[in-house]
Symmetry: C2
Subunit: 429 residues, 2 copies
Amino acid sequence: MADKCFQSLPGFRDFTPRDCAVRNYLFSVWRDVAHRYGFSEYEAPIVESTELYLKKTGGELATQLFRFEDQGGRDITLRPELTASLARIVGANQRDFPKPLKWFEIGPCFRYEKPQKGRGREFIQFNADIIGEASSGADAELIAMAIDTMLALGFGENDFVIRASDRESWLSFCTQHDISDPSEFLPLVDRLEKLKPEVLEEQLGTFNVTRQQVDDFVNNPENASPAFKEIRENLNARGLGQYLELDLTIVRGLAYYTGAVFEIFDTKKSMRAVAGGGRYDGLLSTLSNGSADLPATGFAMGDMVIQNFIDATPGAKLEMEAWMARNPPCEIYLVIADESKRNDALGVIAQLRTSGLSVDYPMTQLNVGKQFKKAEQSGARFALVIGSEFPEMQLKNLSSRSEQTIDNTSNFTETIQALLDAPDGPLIA
Amino acid sequence: MADKCFQSLPGFRDFTPRDCAVRNYLFSVWRDVAHRYGFSEYEAPIVESTELYLKKTGGELATQLFRFEDQGGRDITLRPELTASLARIVGANQRDFPKPLKWFEIGPCFRYEKPQKGRGREFIQFNADIIGEASSGADAELIAMAIDTMLALGFGENDFVIRASDRESWLSFCTQHDISDPSEFLPLVDRLEKLKPEVLEEQLGTFNVTRQQVDDFVNNPENASPAFKEIRENLNARGLGQYLELDLTIVRGLAYYTGAVFEIFDTKKSMRAVAGGGRYDGLLSTLSNGSADLPATGFAMGDMVIQNFIDATPGAKLEMEAWMARNPPCEIYLVIADESKRNDALGVIAQLRTSGLSVDYPMTQLNVGKQFKKAEQSGARFALVIGSEFPEMQLKNLSSRSEQTIDNTSNFTETIQALLDAPDGPLIA
């Protein structure tokens, strides 16, 4: 009983400080890259009217909704993704914003799925969308940002690749093979690797197409669409072309994609795609009943899959740990060696904090040995010791074990800041 | 119909980029102050088992829950507050963490209330708690952090005050007046100002107490508890004593508070309290069925009330706007004056962004006049113009209208960074 009451619901996560620091690292990288690319952050409600989601997709997503009736009898849903809310917000405010919009969002989404590695019922998504720009230049900008996100996370050329295609290529294929309804054929392309060969062959047969014809089409780079070629040239100009690979088998599962589509893959293929996106020119119009008929392209990355990928990639893990080291929970632990000096210590703490430093200290009397233990546990690099000699203080470097005297002069906070910014000095023992 | 589909649910907010920047400003200040005070960030699930909340409070909160059954038949609730989750997480992990814990959280909470100014059905709370420290030193540390939060938001001594009391004072009063069950008497103190005088007098009568006796008690500073006096001395030592005021009418509505309690008030009293908190030594034990019997003190601040307070306070508003100016959505807008140089421009953009700068540009061909209009709209301080003279580029300061030539040399990004960091030069027209 006591045990049960400590558990979060299945598929929901607690973020203790260490987990939350990992999350904050992702947030920091995502925000930094989005900022460098000139994207503005927005946020939508966690809860929306259910009709917003039923309109968009149907299919698998509709069966995975956290959907319920509120106290006012409304049919409401915990958002399973952001695009529907984005369309709603852009539809409501589009006259206020010059196009194109470059917007990003970071926040939780909810799906009632079987919890497993890399998949929870509450997960965090990074969403970036460019709205109101139909040219392939927008697709290239978005894919470049996806690549730079991976680079900023410490992944290298050998770790990941962007596989991209364009639904337009398959529309040509459909025309060539007299397939009248591409929307029925494309889901089959999405499952080329997933279906059993005989089932695939049979289903292709209903369109009078053979596996060989599909393979020949997929394996011929000449079938890349003009948009794909423009995207490649654009990325080459940025020095990012080596991360892009044509893969005509990528069509993305959802029906609303209309143009260039892409997925980021772990090159060891040990995991599923870590992010994906594409052009969805008709969706905003559908979701807004025609009021916001704007071309759009977007991508999303979830926190759980990318965290697993970081954990499995030494370079990315090092990058994360370097960030953690630059952002310790505490910089200075103040040791009160003489309890009668507590009020003086509180004054020093207030000054250090006002100068921007992170300071912890024992809130009640504690022997000095225990205080140094707390100082070690706090993650602080320095202990500042205040004792009977105050206003003279001792600043101890907890890793190099060196120490020096600091005077409580008007600019002592600057002195300490400078020492914090400097690398560790020689060991004094 | 189209209109309806653009609306968020009543009491839920869309954060367009301007609103999201305000939210991010609050997040930035909250995180910065918490960091200076040595607090570590945690996060809990948005959804919890309903029993977690029913256990804690009952009362008003229980009628305001977004409560529903999930697809697996679980009785679940969108969290109305964080303390219950905090208790659950600490209970589950307490052996992993040296005490005291200083933890903070920033995230959405949900209550089914009538939406009104300063009150929504989804709102964001800043929660800070100290767990495992029973001394008044922890209360003082928490109240000091609350004060520094207000100061960091740009509020001054004339704008706000912390009114604090201690339930212990009222326990003495109850003993003096033979009130056997203080838990029935304290809610009356909480409503001293809210009840009609005759109703109050009648209800006090059931405890054999007169309004005069209550007023005499409240107006006598000698009734401050020892803990309150220690907190005052502690804050004085930090130079923060002037923000603290004894107010024995503050007891806080919720039943679980046990010691020092406080609220931050707008000194013009035009609004309700902007934040509040207090000591709740028994709650963790209750919520964890006795497994985590730790003393605790905490406070919470919601985003909606504090935003209204900022808007109504010139100093705080200036502080927020200064932050916005330091964090523009975009720093440089790249103008492509000669479309044949687009690939060169993309290379320059990639270099600028890699150096950490925020850059936007037209993703498709656009005449130069329109590009300068976009540059103005972007909020960028500089436009970098690439034309037929490339690798020579023109850097225009969009506010001072000055311009200078930049060469596409190896360190041109540093040159531009230095110009961005410098104040605007003389007007050249």
